[in-house]
């Protein structure tokens, strides 16, 4: 695989246009890559080849419906917590154990571990948070529900 000098995978202009297109929408058609190919002047096979390459590079990570969990009566929350430096690997294992934890970041802040949980209901969410708290010996944990979102959707120009 070609790599640019900075170590990033090399994408050409067309790859970037395709990425910008497919992260917004993939045609709902039995042959979506044929439809996309038409748009970009590629054959269906060429289009599949480009998307597959970006999949193999880890750039395209998933294809499918993107679900609005709010509409399914599920509970989601951002959690701020404090983890000791020597417990970070425990935290990594703890968040990996729970598919309901969708994102987890270490941050340079007094609250240094931030993660998101999506679960069937509030009680299930709390159970997961409790398990992670115990496993990684988190010293402080706060749920921070979203009160208002000022932005939805995708704005990444690649």
């Amino acid at each position: 695989m070609k790599q640019a000098e900075n170590g990033r995978p090399e994408l050409d202009e067309l790859d970037r246009k395709i990425l910008n297109r497919i992260q917004v929408e993939v045609p709902l058609d039995p042959r979506p890559f044929r439809v996309l190919g038409h748009e970009f002047g590629l054959s269906e096979d060429e289009m599949i080849g480009r998307v597959r390459r970006m999949w193999n590079l880890g750039i395209v990570r998933r294809l499918g419906p993107i679900i609005n969990y709010h509409a399914w009566d599920m509970s989601g929350v951002l959690v701020a917590s404090k983890v000791d430096e020597d417990r970070i690997e425990d935290a990594r294992s703890a968040v990996a154990e729970h598919p309901e934890i969708t994102h987890a970041y270490l941050r340079e802040h007094e609250w240094n571990l931030w993660f998101t949980v999506i679960a069937e209901n509030e009680a299930a969410m709390d159970t997961i948070i409790k398990k992670v708290t115990e496993r990684a010996r988190l010293s402080d944990v706060k749920k921070l529900p979203q009160k208002k979102s000022f932005k939805l959707g995708v704005k990444f120009e690649v």
Binding site: R8, L19, I22, Q23, E25, L28, D29, P30, R31, F33, E44, I48, V51, R52, W55, L57, G58, I59, V60, R61, L63, G64, P65, I66, I67, N68, Y69, A71, W72, G76, L78, R92, A96, P99, I101, T102, H103, A104, Y105, L106, R107, E108, H109, E110, W111, N112, F115, T116, I118, D140, K142, L144, K147, K148, S149, F150, K151, K155, F156, V158
Partner: protein, 161 residues
């Protein structure tokens, strides 16, 4: 008849990059591809599905710098700060949430940049928003996990970057 929930649990696992990506799903559900498409379209119309699309991981393509910025404001300015924050080019997500230390009037602004200067520039713009009295910049030290929940894929808007 497959319920919407069963449908989405299966469809949410993700499809393969192949000529007919919906075909294995349709076969598993005992539906035609046209029926699968119609179902997804209806769920989009009902707001239960945001869109049918690819999820893209930004980090390998250069969105290597990300920071969560917490802008402290007050009740009177919360919407103004949120709306100003979301208009900044490098900002992907913008939410009103409480601060873990207690301040209820905070806007969380997620900034992504192809380089530190893009992030620094966005932070400078955030500091200039009227009504912002204090700004905390919390750069990412690393991703412990970023995945989609099997069955129900989460849009990153829940957390932002």
């Amino acid at each position: 008849m497959v319920s919407d929930r069963e449908f989405i649990d299966l469809a949410g696992k993700g499809l393969k990059i192949e000529a007919q990506p919906l075909r294995p799903l349709a076969e598993k559900l005992g539906l035609s591809q046209a029926e699968v498409i119609a179902r997804i379209k209806r769920l989009i119309a009902e707001g239960k599905v945001r869109r049918f699309a690819a999820s893209v991981r930004h980090q390998p393509i250069g969105f290597s710098v990300n920071a969560m910025v917490i802008a402290h404001t007050d009740e009177a300015h919360i919407d103004e700060v949120g709306n100003a924050g979301q208009r900044i080019e490098a900002v992907s997500h913008c939410y009103h949430r409480a601060h873990p230390n207690g301040d209820p009037w905070c806007v969380y602004i997620m900034v992504h940049g192809q380089g530190q200067e893009v992030v620094d520039d966005a932070v400078a713009q955030i500091r200039r928003i009227p009504g912002v009295r204090e700004v905390e910049v919390c750069p990412s030290r690393g991703e412990l996990k970023k995945t989609s929940l099997s069955g129900v894929s989460a849009d990153p808007d829940l957390v932002g970057g």
